[in-house]
Symmetry: C2
Subunit: 228 residues, 2 copies
Amino acid sequence: MERAQIHRVSVADQVASILRQRILDGELRPGTPLQEVPLAASLGVSRNTMREATRILSLEGLLKRSIHRGVAVSQLSLKDVHEIYHLRRMLEIPAVLAADSRRTDVVQEIRSALDGYERAVHARDWMRAVSFDLQFHTLLIRFHQNKRLESFYQNLIGEVRMGMVVVDRTHDNPERLIPVHRRIYQLLTAGKLKQCAALLAQHLDDSEARLSRVMDGQMSNGGTRQTT
Amino acid sequence: MERAQIHRVSVADQVASILRQRILDGELRPGTPLQEVPLAASLGVSRNTMREATRILSLEGLLKRSIHRGVAVSQLSLKDVHEIYHLRRMLEIPAVLAADSRRTDVVQEIRSALDGYERAVHARDWMRAVSFDLQFHTLLIRFHQNKRLESFYQNLIGEVRMGMVVVDRTHDNPERLIPVHRRIYQLLTAGKLKQCAALLAQHLDDSEARLSRVMDGQMSNGGTRQTT
DNA sequence: GCACGTTCAATTGTTCAACACTTGACTTCG
DNA sequence: CGAAGTCAAGTGTTGAACAATTGAACGTGC
């Protein structure tokens, strides 16, 4: 009787999920304007329902709504990236320090995210790699055992993922990151939490620097910067 | 030319603000069901607009939407309180540790929140006291200089405030808390951040304990507990 | 009296069509 | 060339309608 609940969700929620997926997959790139009528028609829903969906996503930060000017896929500024990584450090590090390796369910999931990451990298499937990477980090947050925090963190990860899948990554080699993730996992399961946290911090700094650098390069051409 | 922006907000946002206010003021108590048609009519807006408003508030956690069963004002469980206070500790303490007393604007606002708190307590105006108390804490978060965090924290405070304004407080004397707040402020401005953080942590623990205790007492009678 | 299925009004979920308002681009005129 | 006016496109909002679900009242048979 564990998961016996029926999964009836509103159409608006489903539409939001579909759009969220498209955004996170990079199918809808930052800056893309979304028009209510054609979009609603293409999904076979009414305009009102579409509005509810965009309302959801704009509150998640994935869409930006300008009154009377419509919604568009959000575009991260360098400041946004810095903000998000500040939060990631602030949330992930205590999570690791509070990690309890007896929570075998979480550890197991982290393990499989790690495996998925490595497989994706070897298969040169960058987007799946990004997904697994971020899932890896999201799972760390589980150690806080805090629903609100998980949901908030999920949003952050959504925003940063949106920035990641778009960048040009020809000059980057994801292989380099496999040992880092693997080591984080090892330290975590070994209970060497301090070391783990230190490595994680370094990894996050590195990740932020890389993303910032690449985004700065991209900024010059299509740059409708978002000051907020 | 500082604040030259015109305040064009959608009706849905305004309706959300009104309802938010009513909830936070305790006018709409936890558990109260909200019916779309009468509520929309009473505010002179259409049902669709009201739906957008409730959508906003449900994503903020203030309303809980059950499909085909309508929305109701959220009801905190003890677990919710614990979760929220865990986050408060996690966010406020680093904020204080990162406090920069040269940010005179923030310090100034904290000072006036403190003053407002003391005045409200002396006037026996509990609800205003709660408001100023929470504003005091919200301002601490400013030291992180992180918009996303401020907004998230604001939501948390909203939830906890909803829990606070409802409780029976005849057996509580808010005066007791004035010296604590004053001392936190003093330590903060004096740059004694470690001590300040310690006192703050203790204050938060105390606050959580008190709220939990009172809520537990209230739980017995009207308790439609919200497991989530 | 009680368990069960049925009916039914109330409420939410969703759609549709219409209109008001804003915006940005285009045009016109000085 | 620039300022003011024009206009279509798109969003914001409304009101009415219908479908789907719920909870309760009701009735039936045991």
